[in-house]
Amino acid sequence: MSGRHESGDRGSPYAPHTADETAAMLDAVGADDVTELFDIPESVAFDGEFGIEARSEREAERHVRGLLSRNDDLTEFLGRGHYEHYVPSLVDHLSLRSEFLTSYTQYQPEITQGFLQALFEYQSMLVELTGLDIVNASMYDHATALAEAALLAARVRSTDGDRVLVPDYLLDQRKDVLENYTDGAGLSVETFATDDGNADADALAEAIDDDAVMVYAENPTTRGTVEEGLAEIGALADDHDALFCLGSDPVALSILQEPASVGADVVVGDAAALGLPTAYGMGLGLFACREDFVRQVPGRLVGASEDAADKRTYTLTLQTREQHIRRERATSNICTNQAWVALRTAIHAAYLGPDGLVDLANDCVRLADDLAGRLDDVTGLRAPVHDRHHFREFVVHTDQPANAVVEDLEAEGFAVHAVGEHEVQVCITDANEHAADRLVAAFEEVA
C-alpha cells in the first residue's frame, strides 16, 4: 500500500504487490526469489548503484519545484517559431482526463472512439484552416514536419531531382533538421535570397530549375513579416513540377491567405501555438497536403468508417504506410507522435471558434503594429526594420549592440531575441500584451 512505500525505500510506490501476493505469485511460477526469473549472465549483471535517492511524493514534488524555481521570472517577448497564447483552463481540465492522457495509439478502435474522434476533429479543423484535404494526426514539430514534406516531395515527384529551395529567413535550427532528415535521401537544401523580410520571388525564379523537388516559404515568416508573394512562389514551383510547401500555424491561418488558394501542396507548422503554453520549444508538427499524396503521407491518419452495427465510427487508416507494417519502406519512421498536444490544440481551437480565432489573429497584427510604432518612437530604436505587415513579431534596429540591449532588458525582467549585431526581435500576443507598457519603458531605459 502507499503508506509502506511513502518514502520510496522499499520499492516502487506504483507496484501494488503485498508481500503475500508476491509470495503467492512466486509460488505459482515456481521460483523462490524474483531474481531467479532473470536470465542475465553474471558478467553483464549490474551490481552497482545509480546513487539516486528515493523520495516521497512530497519530497519529489518539492525537489522538482525547487529546481525549476531557479528559472528567472522574466516576462518573455519571444517567438521565432515558439509562440504563447493564453490557454483556456478548459484545455487542461479536459486533456488531463485520464482516459485521454493514459491511453496509447488507437490500435483497438472499438474502445478508443473518443480519442479517434477528437483527432478526426483536429484533422478537420486544420483542413478548413489550410484548405488542403489531408491532415495527419501529428508530427513532432514544425522542423520535422518540414523535413517530412521534403521527403514526400522527393517520393511523389514524377522525375528525379534533389534540390530543396528554402528562403534565407528559415531558422538555422529548422534548416539543420531538414538537412539531417533529407541527407539519407540524397537531397540538398539550398537557400534563396529574401527581400525586406519576404521571400524574393525574383531570386527564387533565378534559383529554381527542374531539379527542384520542393520550394518552401513561410507565412508569417520567422522575422514576423506577412508574405506578399505567395501566389508567385506557388506558380514558380508549379512551373517546375516542384511541390510548394508553406510553413504557418493555426492562429495565423485564421486570417492569412488560405494556403490552397496560393498553390500550396503541403502546409507544415507548429500547431501548438494553440494548446500549449510556452514549453521550451516543445510543439506539435502540423502536416497537411493535397489529396493526391494521401498514400505517401507520413504519420497516422484517422478516418471515418462503420462498425458491425453500421454506426459511424473512426479508426486509424492506411496503416500500411507506417513503419510497424511497411518497415524500411514506410513513409516515415514516426511511431509515437504528439497526439495529446493535437487534442489540446483541437480543444483550444474549438473554444475560440471562428470568431475567436479571427479576433486573436487580428490582435496579433494590431499588437505588433502598435508596439513597433511605440518602439520606433524610442530614441536609439527603429522599428519595424522591414517595411511589411507583421504578425505577432517584428525586428527592431538598435543603435546599441543588440546583445547589450538584450542583456540590459533581462536585468529589467524582459526577454527578447538578439537576431543581428544591431537587431533584436520582439513578439507580442494576448499572453504578454499586459506588459507592453513596461517593456517600452524598459527599452527607453536601455536603448
Binding site: G51, N71, A304, E328
Partner: protein
C-alpha cells in the same frame, strides 16, 4: 451512444475582416462555434469512450503501459516550467539544471557516458543514434564504405524505418531457433560494410540475449557499432545496463520506462545515450556544468542533482562534432520534466523494484494463461500463440471482457502472436482478471471471436471501408449519412 462531431453541433462561417490588406487575407472561416459548457460535455463524453491505463489493465506488449503518477503532471504544469528556449542560459538555470540532472540519471541507468535529451520520441532517438554512428564512421573515413545496418527480423518496425531514413541498406538478420540472435548468421552478416547493429534486449520475445558479449565482439571486430533499442529497458532497470554489455549507443523511451503518459499516441521523448567516444557527435545543444563549476565537481550532490550558484551552474553547449539538430528546438521538454520527477521519486530501489515486479508479473500472468508460450525464459513480456485462433480476433474478443488486449500478430516468429506486457503496476487480482479473460477467449469458437466485440462502445470496425472510402475530415463526410 453517438456523440456528434463538433461540426454537427454548431458551425459558423465568419467573414474575415482584418487590419491587413484584403489580398493578404482569406475571405471567411467556417469552424465549430460552441460555448464552453457544450465543449466540456463533448470532450467529457469522448473521454468516456476511451480506454486508458486508469481504466484497467493495458498489457500492450512492447509499449510498457505503466501508471502515470499524477504529481508528475503537476510539476510539468508549474509556471516556472513554461519558459521559452531562446533565453539566456543564466536566466534558465532551473531548466538547464533539471536537464543536466536527467542527462546524469539516464547515463547512470544505461551505463552510458553522455546523453542528449533532444529526440522527441523513440523512433527519433533511433534516427539520432544512427546519425551519430554515421558521423563516427565518417570521421574515421569509413562513411561511404559502411552503408549497412543489421536489424534482427524480430525488431521493432521503427528500426528498419529509421535506418532507411538515414539512407542505409537494411540487412535483416533471421532469428535463431531459440528466438535469439543467431551468432553464426550475425558473423555472416557483419562486414566492413556494417555501420551498426540494432538490437533490443530483452528482445521482443522477452528473451535476454545471453550471447550479448559475443554479439558485441562480433560487431566491434567488424568495425561496426552496437545500438540498444530502449523499448524494453523496463526489464533491466537496476539489473543490467546496456553500456556494460558493449552497446555503444542507445535510446530511452521515457514514456515507457519512465512512466510519462502515452497521451493517445504521444508525446514521448527518446533521449540518446552514447559511450564517451561518440559524445562529440551528439545533437546540439547539450547541457553541462560551467567550467568554473566543474572544477568543484567534488561538491556535487551524490545523486547528481544540480546545485545553484550565483553565476549560474549550467550552460548549453554544442558538442564538438555535433550531428546538429533532430528537433527544431530542444525536444519535448514537458515530457522530460515528468520523466525526471518519476526517477527522482523512485530512486535506485524503486527503479530496481519496478523491473523485478514487471518480470514477476509477466511470468505469473503467463503461468495462468492457457495459451502456449513457445519461448522462454522471458522477462517483462511474453509472446503467447493463439494457435488455431486468429490473434486479432482474440484481441477483439478480449475487449468484451473489459480489458485491453495484448499486441497481436507480432513478432512473426510466433504464430498468431499475443505479445503481452503487464508491467509492474498490476497486482495479482488484476493479473488474475486478465488471465480469466485470456482463458475464457481460448475456449471460444471462431464465430464468437469473429463477431466480437459486442460489449464495447463500438462494434467491430470495418477497416476496409475506412481505407477504400477515405473520409479523413468532416468535410469529406458530406452526404455520408450517419
Amino acid at each position: 451512444q453517438y456523440e456528434p462531431l463538433l461540426s454537427e453541433k454548431n458551425s459558423e462561417e465568419v467573414e474575415v475582416d482584418s487590419p491587413l490588406p484584403d489580398d493578404l487575407t482569406r475571405d471567411s472561416l467556417e469552424l465549430p462555434a460552441l460555448e464552453e459548457p457544450e465543449l466540456a460535455r463533448h470532450y467529457t463524453r469522448l473521454s468516456q469512450m476511451n480506454y486508458g491505463v486508469d481504466s484497467g489493465p493495458y498489457p500492450l506488449g512492447s509499449c510498457t503501459m505503466k501508471y502515470n503518477p499524477k504529481f508528475t503532471e503537476d510539476v510539468a504544469a508549474l509556471p516556472s516550467a513554461a519558459v521559452h528556449h531562446d533565453r539566456s542560459d543564466r536566466s534558465l538555470q532551473g531548466t538547464l539544471g533539471l536537464m543536466h540532472g536527467l542527462q546524469n540519471y539516464l547515463a547512470e541507468i544505461g551505463g552510458m557516458d553522455a546523453v542528449s535529451l533532444q529526440p522527441p520520441a523513440g523512433a527519433a532517438g533511433e534516427f539520432t543514434g544512427i546519425l551519430v554512428a554515421k558521423a563516427y564512421h565518417e570521421a574515421n573515413g569509413e562513411g561511404d564504405q559502411r552503408d549497412e545496418i543489421i536489424v534482427p527480423d524480430s525488431a521493432h518496425g521503427t528500426n528498419f524505418a529509421s535506418a532507411a531514413l538515414a539512407g542505409y541498406e537494411v540487412v535483416e538478420l533471421p532469428s535463431g531457433d531459440d528466438g535469439r540472435v543467431d551468432l553464426e548468421a550475425l558473423e555472416a552478416a557483419a562486414s566492413d560494410r556494417t555501420a551498426l547493429f540494432m538490437l533490443t534486449n530483452p528482445n521482443t520475445l522477452g528473451l535476454f540475449e545471453r550471447d550479448i558479449e559475443e554479439i558485441a565482439e562480433t560487431i566491434h571486430d567488424a568495425g561496426g557499432l552496437l545500438y540498444y533499442d530502449g523499448a524494453n529497458l523496463n526489464a533491466l532497470l537496476g539489473q543490467a545496463r546496456p553500456g556494460d554489455m558493449g552497446f555503444d549507443i542507445m535510446h530511452y523511451n521515457v514514456h515507457k520506462t519512465f512512466a510519462t503518459p502515452h497521451g493517445g499516441g504521444g508525446p514521448g521523448a527518446g533521449p540518446v545515450g552514447v559511450v564517451s567516444d561518440l559524445a562529440e557527435f551528439l545533437p546540439a545543444p547539450r547541457v553541462r556544468e560551467r567550467e568554473d563549476q566543474r572544477s568543484e565537481s567534488s561538491e556535487r550532490a551524490s545523486d547528481g542533482t544540480p546545485r545553484a550558484t550565483d553565476g549560474g551552474a549550467y550552460e548549453r553547449f554544442d558538442p564538438e562534432n555535433t550531428v546538429g539538430k533532430v528537433h527544431g528546438f530542444e525536444g519535448n521538454w514537458l515530457v522530460l520534466v515528468k520523466a525526471y520527477a518519476y526517477i527522482a521519486r523512485l530512486g535506485d530501489e524503486g527503479l530496481a523494484d519496478a523491473a523485478e515486479k514487471a518480470v514477476l508479473n509477466a511470468n505469473y500472468l503467463a503461468s495462468q494463461v492457457d495459451y502456449e508460450v513457445p519461448f522462454e525464459p522471458f522477462h517483462h513480456e511474453f509472446v503467447a500463440s493463439a494457435g488455431d485462433q486468429d490473434a486479432a480476433d482474440v484481441a477483439k474478443r478480449m475487449l468484451d471482457y473489459g480489458v485491453h488486449p495484448p499486441t497481436t500478430k507480432w513478432p512473426e516468429i510466433v504464430p498468431e502472436a499475443l505479445m503481452t506486457e503487464p508491467t509492474e503496476i498490476e497486482g495479482k487480482d488484476t493479473l488474475d482478471q486478465l488471465a480469466e479473460a485470456f482463458d475464457a477467449v481460448a475456449t471460444e469458437d471462431d464465430e464468437t471471436l469473429a463477431n466480437a466485440p459486442n460489449r464495447t462502445t463500438a462494434r467491430r470496425i470495418d477497416q476496409t471501408s475506412a481505407a477504400r472510402n477515405l473520409r479523413l475530415s468532416w468535410q469529406s463526410l458530406e452526404g455520408d449519412a450517419e
